[in-house]
């Protein structure tokens, strides 16, 4: 246990919830008597009896965060990340263990907490500010900056219920961005905004980090975590399963593969709804990037191999096996179709594994949707799925990290820049 430079020290922190209806069970009298009786006989008998109904959302978490460190926390939904943050933010109490936090804590678990739709933007800035722990004079001092940052000058006296959701989010984030806590706790707020907003969030958090403040950052956005946090924890089933350099933690986490993400794992797709003959059917799909650094996740200009496990009712020669990547809006960005190669694809009766290897994927980081079509040029469509699985293209961990300007194009390009004196 080192000395004064530890900002957050978490020791054996655990949190238990009751399952099912939980506390709502029982009648009014029981609630009252439970509250008043507990200090007398410390509920051991009760706890023993009810043990089966409990669920440990967090168990025995122990770690330290140094002052000025930016710590990422990754993990699947329900793994216990939010529970940990809520305990650190003092919203809920731990069942066991302690946490020591030095300095003022700012918890950003939601953008615009405390906003009241009936109140004006101006009123909400103050309300949200004090809710987040600012003093009134502090908000008055920063008011102009906040409004400018949010870009809502003209709507200050309009009730927030008339704001577009984007405006409300911007205003909420602007208030939060002007909070100056020693320890900042941020939970997945990036999920709500558009790309521009996310960029702004990340930029602001980067500023906060550079100003020497401590940040604990939870996100499903692996790009963001890798960009911001040198060190990360992975939480799984309420336990810390990894603690170390972010790249390793993220790789380990992705290797277990989030559901719906077809990285290095055969994903069953036989159940997807189709509009086709069914004579040939894709049973499962797998995407492998086969890159050294980020072993599984494709990255810009890196390779991507898509494997389709086909089942056919007879041996066939298929004219067109095509794998399609679309963006979230449905625009087709990549279509790797065997017909372009002038080759037909032979399948046996029963199962055949077809590999489509894209040598370089010219896509910028983000989420894409994979689909395919298995068809005969004469018009028979054997199998067609427009949106099957998500494919996330990551920032390349070394070269790309930290140098990506705002305003990416949809695709990458290979370019060089030269200069020469011109008179």
């Amino acid at each position: 246990m080192s000395g004064g430079d530890v900002a957050v020290r978490v020791d054996g922190l655990s949190k238990r919830f009751r399952l099912g209806e939980g506390v709502l069970r029982g009648n009014l009298g029981e609630t009252l008597s439970r509250a008043f009786a507990r200090p007398l006989r410390r509920s051991t008998a009760n706890a023993e009896r009810r043990r089966g109904e409990y669920f440990w959302a967090l168990s025995d978490a122990t770690f330290e965060v140094r002052q000025g460190e930016v710590l990422g926390i990754v993990g699947a939904n329900g793994a216990g990340k939010s529970t940990l943050l809520k305990i650190l933010a003092r919203i809920t109490r731990p069942t066991a263990g302690t946490a020591r936090v030095r300095g003022r804590v700012g918890a950003l678990l939601e953008v615009g907490t405390g906003f009241h739709p009936e109140l004006s933007g101006r009123d909400n800035v103050f309300l949200n500010g004090v809710v987040l722990g600012m003093k009134r004079h502090e908000i008055s001092r920063k008011f102009d900056d906040i409004v400018e940052f949010a870009g809502v000058e003209r709507f200050l006296d309009t009730p927030v219920k008339r704001y577009s959701s984007g405006m409300a989010v911007r205003l909420g984030f602007a208030v939060a961005a002007h909070l100056e806590p020693e320890v900042l706790i941020v939970d997945e707020v990036l999920a709500v905004g558009d790309a521009e907003f996310q960029r702004k969030c990340l930029g602001k958090m980067d500023d906060v980090a550079r100003a020497g403040r401590t940040i604990i950052f939870v996100s499903h956005n692996m790009n963001a975590v890798q960009r911001l946090c040198p060190r990360s924890l992975e939480i799984k089933h309420g336990q810390i399963t990894a603690d170390g350099p972010t790249r390793e933690v993220v790789q380990g986490y992705l290797a277990q593969s989030a559901s719906g993400n077809a990285a290095e794992r055969l994903l069953e797709v036989a159940h997807l709804p189709r509009s086709d003959t069914g004579q040939i059917r894709v049973l499962a799909v797998m995407c492998v990037a086969q890159a050294d650094e980020l072993a599984l996740q494709p990255y810009p200009d890196g390779p991507l191999e898509i494997s389709l496990l086909l089942e056919s009712d007879a041996p066939r020669s298929i004219g067109s096996v095509s794998v399609v990547l679309r963006d979230q809006l449905g625009t087709t960005l990549v279509n790797a179709d065997s017909i372009q190669l002038g080759e037909s694809v032979r399948v046996v009766q029963g199962r055949t594994l077809v590999r489509v290897r894209i040598r370089a994927l010219h896509l910028t980081p983000g989420m894409y949707v994979l689909g395919w079509s298995i068809a005969d040029p004469l018009g028979t469509v054997y199998d067609f799925v427009e949106r099957a699985v998500h494919v996330e293209v990551m920032d390349a961990p070394s070269a790309g990290l930290g140098v990506r300007p705002s305003g990416d194009g949809a695709v990458t390009c290979n370019f060089a820049i030269t200069t020469e004196p011109a008179s």
Partner: protein, 296 residues
């Protein structure tokens, strides 16, 4: 190297505002709560700005998109007074200790309407502010406290009308009015005490919301709003005065009307009972507040 940061369009913001030059940082220890704890008054004081803005929000929101706005603060007690005067004053001919019945009942309705509204608002406050409670930390007691405090504005407006009414009935203001501020404190204490208990219970059992409406109707009948507390037999008086509203209402009548009986015995009993209820409420609230975010 702290972060591998991307170059930002607004990089100049990174500069100022680092942690304050090495002042001693407060260490917060987060641990399981054991046993009972008193109110942390120091922490409450630190959050007074939050109380201020919660009260302001309650006030601003209350009469948004209403035509009459704060007029409701007056209309509510006045309408009840009119009905009471017709039914209890004219038809049932209840004793009003020698005062005009309208004045007699209005002097009671001003604190009563405040009390019933404050109690209702406080009881629902935690559930209504679920978003706040589940997303950010602050002393939870501020939520019912803000509900109770916000009602004081309505009380003040109604009280001005009450003063006007007494003058209209030919009763001139006396020095006895000095008792009104302590009476207001007493009614606040009563509403907050019962309100915190009910607000905390409401988190666990939403039945409370319905029970409160019923409770208030019931409470109206055991309070001397429509009738005078002098009709309660002497032997029952101490028990009767355990209802804090008995002391409050007797006090209001004594301060404002001619010929009202002395309220001080009832007041003492009511004050003691209200304080007890408040202490129970605050302790119970503190005891369960940590679980609000898990349950609400």
């Amino acid at each position: 190297m702290k972060t591998q940061g991307l170059p930002l369009p607004n990089d100049e913001r990174a500069g100022p505002g680092g942690p304050e030059p090495e002042q001693e940082l407060v260490e917060t220890v987060i641990e399981p709560r054991r046993g009972w704890a008193p109110l942390n008054l120091r922490e409450l004081r630190g959050h007074r700005d939050l109380l201020y803005f919660l009260v302001l929000r309650n006030l601003k929101v209350r009469y948004k998109q209403t035509v009459l706005g704060a007029g409701w603060a007056v209309i509510q007690p006045v309408m009840i007074m009119v009905v009471f005067t017709l039914v209890f004053g004219r038809l049932a001919r209840l004793s009003s200790d020698g005062s005009p019945y309208a004045l007699f009942s209005f002097a009671a309705l001003v604190p009563w309407v405040y009390f019933s509204n404050a109690l209702t608002q406080a009881s629902n406050s935690i559930v209504q502010n679920e978003r706040l409670v589940t997303k950010v930390y602050f002393p939870r007691i501020l939520v019912p406290l803000a509900a109770v405090v916000a009602g004081l504005v309505d009380l003040a407006i109604a009280f001005v009308v009450l003063l006007g009414l007494t003058v209209a009935f030919g009763v001139l203001p006396r020095l006895d009015l000095l008792i009104v501020p302590p009476l207001v404190l007493l009614v606040v204490v009563s509403a907050l005490g019962a309100g915190t208990c009910l607000a905390a219970l409401n988190v666990y059992h939403r039945d409370v919301r319905y029970a409160v409406a019923f409770l208030i109707q019931f409470w109206l009948f055991i309070s001397p709003v429509a009738y005078s507390s002098s009709i309660v037999p002497d032997a029952w008086r101490p028990l009767y005065a355990l209802n804090p509203m008995v002391g409050v209402i007797d006090g209001f009548r004594w301060a404002l009307l001619d010929d009202a009986p002395s309220p001080f015995l009832n007041l003492a009993i009511s004050a003691a009972s209200a304080t007890t209820v408040l202490l129970i409420g605050l302790y119970y609230f503190r005891r369960v507040e940590d679980a609000f975010a898990d349950v609400v």
